[in-house]
Symmetry: C2
Subunit: 192 residues, 2 copies
DNA sequence: GAAAAAACTTGACAAATATCAAGAGGGATC
DNA sequence: GATCCCTCTTGATATTTGTCAAGTTTTTTC
């Protein structure tokens, strides 16, 4: 299953066989069954996780027990709780598998080590972070300016692969609207 | 005015006099009068801007001509349009001064040059980006889970310095609510 | 310091969205 | 293949928030 990561990596940067050996050496593969947790609220997150197969979600649970999904990760996405990673404090979020999944884990120490040994990888990770920030900012913009319908149409346009495989009520959660509203939005959007 | 940046910098990382000279050499100071643009939609953004004094906002204008504020930057904050910077495409956002302001500008080429010459600075910028991403994600979380009142109370708690100096209707825009709703929220929140 | 502009508040009403409740459909499981 | 669970839909109603309009207060400008 590590070939998924290798393909991803060589598609982004040029690396030697010796360098690739580092990724193989330090990476730990983990299988997750549907509904299984990768991170539970209260635990400290100390990893970087690359999704080789499947689909995961990161979410918060509020006082009323309602789940709010912050993001989805499918194949070739990274996941984790950067806030806990940076602060060393217990995570406020949960990450679990929506489908049976396979993730490749790097402890933060090993990840830093690899970055220091492979400057091109470090630069790639910086670029990734920069793009992630832009995506996040655009999502903020969508929340302050769009209606439920606009957010949904935007979502299926920008994330069709995720829209297809994730249950509708989770998409509603991700968009910050109720499942009923999403159902109605879809119905009326089809007509147009 | 560059002393503001120097203070900021030596507070974060240890640098030599020679290294500081780079920042002085490449930085361009720019004064902005209130309402003056630092970036206008349609222009390509190629800088990194550090705010030495004043307050700026980054915002988008929608089809109806309504401004949606994505973020505020005061002293010791950075601003810019990373999306345009990364893509090389015209910016979709505007940045202007809410107060008379002074910003320190680095062209992206010079900024990269400095980062390559001062690894500690490069690492600091990465950490900054990581924290910015976390802040942005938390803001997304606030949008999917909080009411207008909760968002406002959260805002004045986490950004009291900004809440104090920015007009209320701009805070409303930043929170994604109407000025009238914010006015009512404030009124009812005071009672509690 | 007067005039003009901008910012804020308030009320009445409209629209969007949430909530609650019931039921229908589809897929997993034994 | 029957049962159960999960998901989605739909209707009725409640709540939140937005819109429009007017008036008041505050700030800016000359």
């Amino acid at each position: 299953m590590i070939h998924v990561f290798k393909k991803y990596l060589i598609d982004k940067i040029t690396i030697t066989d010796e360098e690739w050996a580092l990724f193989e050496q330090y990476g730990v593969m983990k299988k997750l069954r549907k509904h299984q947790y990768l991170l539970q609220e209260g635990d400290v997150w100390k990893l970087n996780a690359f999704v080789c197969q499947g689909c995961l979600r990161k979410y918060h649970v509020d006082d009323k027990g309602i789940e709010h999904i912050v993001f989805f990760s499918i194949e070739n996405y990274w996941t984790g709780d950067r806030e806990s990673l940076l602060s060393g404090l217990p995570a406020k979020s949960n990450i679990d598998a929506i489908e049976d999944s396979v993730v490749l884990l790097y402890s933060i120490e090993n990840f830093e080590l690899i970055k220091s040994k492979i400057p091109a990888f470090k630069d790639f990770v910086i670029g990734l972070l920069e793009r992630s920030f832009v995506v996040s900012q655009n999502r903020v913009h969508s929340f302050i300016s769009q209606t439920a319908e606009e957010k949904y149409l935007d979502f299926i346009k920008t994330s069709p692969q995720i829209a297809k495989r994730v249950p509708q009520h989770m998409i509603a959660s991700y968009l910050g609207i109720s499942p009923e509203t999403l159902s109605r939005v879809r119905k009326s959007a089809v007509k147009k």
